[in-house]
Structures are given as C-alpha cells and as structure tokens.
C-alpha cells in the first residue's frame, strides 16, 4: 500500500461529495423561479406613434390579482418609458394592458422593439424584451393629439429578495440544468488537470503509479464529458429545437471528446506497460493542450448560439445570478469529489490487478 494513497481510504470527502449533490438535487429542483412574463399577445405586431393598442400579458409564477396594483411600462430606450394607460387584471397570471403611444415620431432607426416591464409589489419586476415593434418615423396625421407622454425614468422599485432563480424566456425551468450540464463540464476540466499533473509526473519519475492515476482520472473525466454532451443535447432539443446544431462550441467539444477517446484506444492497443505509460502520458499532455483552445478560446471568438460565447450572456463568471451560484458552486465541488472517488476505485482496482498478475507469474 503506497503511503501517498492513504487519502483514498478516508470517507469524509466521499460523504461530502454525496451530501453536496443531494443538496443540489433538492434545492436546485425545488426552488421556484422568479415571476416573469411568459407571453404577450396583441392584434397588431407593429405600432406607430399616436396609436392605441392592448397587450395581453401571460405571466409565469405571477400574482397579478393579489393586490391588483400591477403597473406596466413599455421601454424604448433608457430615457423613454411609456406607462400603461389602463390595466385589466383577469387572474393571477393574465392581464390586459392598454397603451397609447404619444404623437411624437423619431428620426433615427426605422423599427425598434419595445421592452415590456411589469411591476407589482408581491412579484417585483418582470421584463420581456421585444414585446412589440414600434415604427419610429411614422406617417403622422398632424391632427391627432393625445395626452400620452414618454417619461424619462422609471420609479424606484422595491425588489423581491427571497431566493428564486431568474426567469428567462426560452429557458423557463430548464435554467436548473446549469447545475448539472455546466457543472459536469467544469468538473471534467478540473479532473483532466489532475490527469495532466500525473501524466507529467510519470514522464519525470517513471513511477507507474502516476500512469495508473492519470488513466483513472482521465476515465472519470471522459465519463463526465460524455454525460455533458448528452445533457447538453437534451437541453438543446427542448430550447433550441434540435438535438445537435453546427455550432462552434458543440463541434469543438465533440472534437475534444474524440481526441480523448483516442487516448483510451491508444492505451488499449499497447500491451507493454512501460511503452503504454509513456505514450499515454505524452498523448494526454497534448490532448489537454488542445482542449483549452478548442472549447474555451475558439468559441468565444465567433458568433455562437451557446451561452458564454460570441456576445451571448453567459451563465458563468460575472453573468451568473447570485441565487444560481448557491447551487452551482456546490454542484461543481460535488461532481469533482464524486469523479475523484470513481477514479480512485479505478486506480485501486488496477493496482490489485497488477499485484495479482505479478503473483501468478512468480
């Protein structure tokens, strides 16, 4: 028994991994979403200055009826807001908002989307971008006047501070996938780092223990990579409408997976364990060096549908909502711990196998 392997027999970090993952499952799936606007219906899709129109609003997790004092604005830009003239609440999730556009037309861009902002005390603010299109310069009948005006700012809203996940229109409840799909990939990269570390150490010391550990970590990591691809595919099917798409990040991630799968074919095809260890170590260093630009750098340089690249808001770093972080970071830690546990089991089995083989040879 190698003294450096003593930590593999301890239970505390394995229990921590399990407990954290159970916490993520329970909390991540049961915390409700913030109230948001699911849908907006109107007879006209394009409106002009001076026109009156009604927007039917369908809310998600909203409580329009609770105090009845729901307010709504249409935002043109940071200094033009139009307050709803009349609000008719039908039930907790449905309301009709009547707006009258002022008789002012603008010189600049032809058609711009107006953002709908609703507010009530119980739910806080809900936002839907591009609720309706507004034609800025319009053929205006100069006889029409109304008392509608663009206000230059919104009142200060009191925000709802209880723990709820952000509501995003295409994602809806699938935002919870952040704790699984994204966490899997990040855990994979960290476990691959451990594999890389042991690969380098093997080439330095020629100690076969490092080769076995490196292979074990890479195995765990590739399992996570495959699971990441599958969970991403399922997520894509119900948000983007397709299981796979010719998107940069997806293709780069698939290529990175193929490069690592070749690592295992390499290991399987070599019978001389010294040679196998040397080739695997060198190949895994190359694979990791290829992985970083493939899945991190190249996608960010291009326009991409996948969040976090090409101008899309990311669900990570500065863009991650603080309520999501409560479950996202524990999820990464738990995936790393569970992955390391599986890797240590793999490694210990290999050690026992080797001892068995040596014994049977003597």
């Amino acid at each position: 028994m190698d003294k450096r392997d003593k930590w593999m027999h301890k239970s505390y970090w394995k229990v921590l991994g399990v407990v954290l993952f159970v916490y993520v499952i329970i909390g991540g799936l049961s915390t409700p979403l913030k109230p948001g606007i699911a849908n907006v219906t109107s007879e006209k899709s394009l409106v002009y200055a001076g026109q009156s129109f009604t927007l039917g609003v369908e809310g998600y997790n909203t409580h329009f009826k609770v105090d009845g004092k729901i307010q709504a604005w249409l935002k043109l830009d940071s200094s033009h807001f139009l307050k709803a003239k009349n609000v008719e609440v039908i039930n907790d999730n449905t309301a009709n908002l009547s707006f009258t556009l002022p008789t002012i037309s603008f010189e600049s861009k032809a058609i711009e989307g107006l953002t709908l902002i609703t507010y009530n005390e119980k739910d806080g603010t809900a936002i839907l971008p591009d609720a309706i299109s507004f034609s800025k310069p319009s053929k205006l009948d100069s006889n029409i006047t109304n008392d509608a005006i663009w206000v230059s700012s919104l009142p200060i809203f009191t925000q709802n501070t209880s723990i709820m996940f952000p509501y995003r229109n295409i994602l809806n409840e699938t935002i919870r996938n952040t704790f699984f799909h994204v966490a899997l990939w990040l855990a994979m990269v960290i476990i691959l780092l451990a594999g890389l570390y042991h690969a380098i150490l093997y080439l330095k010391t020629r100690d076969l223990r490092h080769d076995k550990l490196s292979a074990a970590y890479n195995t765990s990591a590739i399992l996570y990579g495959i699971l990441g691809l599958v969970t991403g595919s399922v997520w894509a099917k119900y948000t983007w409408g397709t299981w796979w798409t010719t998107d940069v990040k997806l293709n780069m991630a698939a290529i990175a997976m193929l490069i690592y799968l070749a690592y295992f074919i390499l290991r399987g095809s070599n019978t001389d364990f010294d040679k196998r260890a040397r080739i695997s170590a060198a190949y895994s260093i190359f694979s990791f060096a290829a992985l970083i630009p493939l899945i991190f750098i190249i996608p960010r340089m291009t326009a991409s549908l996948h969040p976090g690249n090409g101008g899309n808001p990311a669900l990570g770093g500065e863009d991650l909502d603080h309520t999501l972080r409560l479950f996202f970071y524990p999820s990464i830690i738990s995936f790393i711990l569970l992955g390391v546990w599986m890797a240590t089991l793999n490694y210990r089995t290999e050690v026992l196998n080797e001892k068995q083989q040596l014994k049977s040879q003597n």
Partner: protein, 68 residues
C-alpha cells in the same frame, strides 16, 4: 409585503395553504426529486460496496505480503 425571509426556500410552509399533501404540492416536483434521489442514493450505495470490497482485498494482500 415583500418576502425577505428564506421561507420561499422551505416550501413546506406553502403546502399548508393548499389542501393537498406534501408530495402532490407544487406540481408534484417533489415526486420527481424523490425519484432522482432514490436513483442517486442507489448508485452511491453500489459505489460504496465496491469501495469496501477493494479495501477488503487490499487488507488481504497486505496481510499475505507480511506473512510471506
């Protein structure tokens, strides 16, 4: 009244307002959570069994090594 407490994180409070039991409240999400937990804990128990078997073998080999 803006809810500033962590009570929305403990959904038990809300179920008392509805006239249905815990597992059927809030769109039966708790049934889903229970199912996933059962699967996960099952896998964890399986991992733990393998871990114990390996530990047992390692102790066995260590003892054989000492006595031989």
């Amino acid at each position: 009244m803006i809810n500033t407490k962590l009570t929305t994180f403990l959904p038990i409070i809300f179920t008392l307002a509805q006239d249905i039991d815990f597992m059927r409240s809030t769109g039966k999400i708790y049934t889903v959570i229970a199912g996933i937990l059962v699967i996960f804990i099952g896998i964890v128990i399986y991992l733990r069994r393998i871990d114990n078997k390996i530990t047992h073998l390692e102790i066995q080999i260590k003892d054989e090594h000492k006595t031989s």
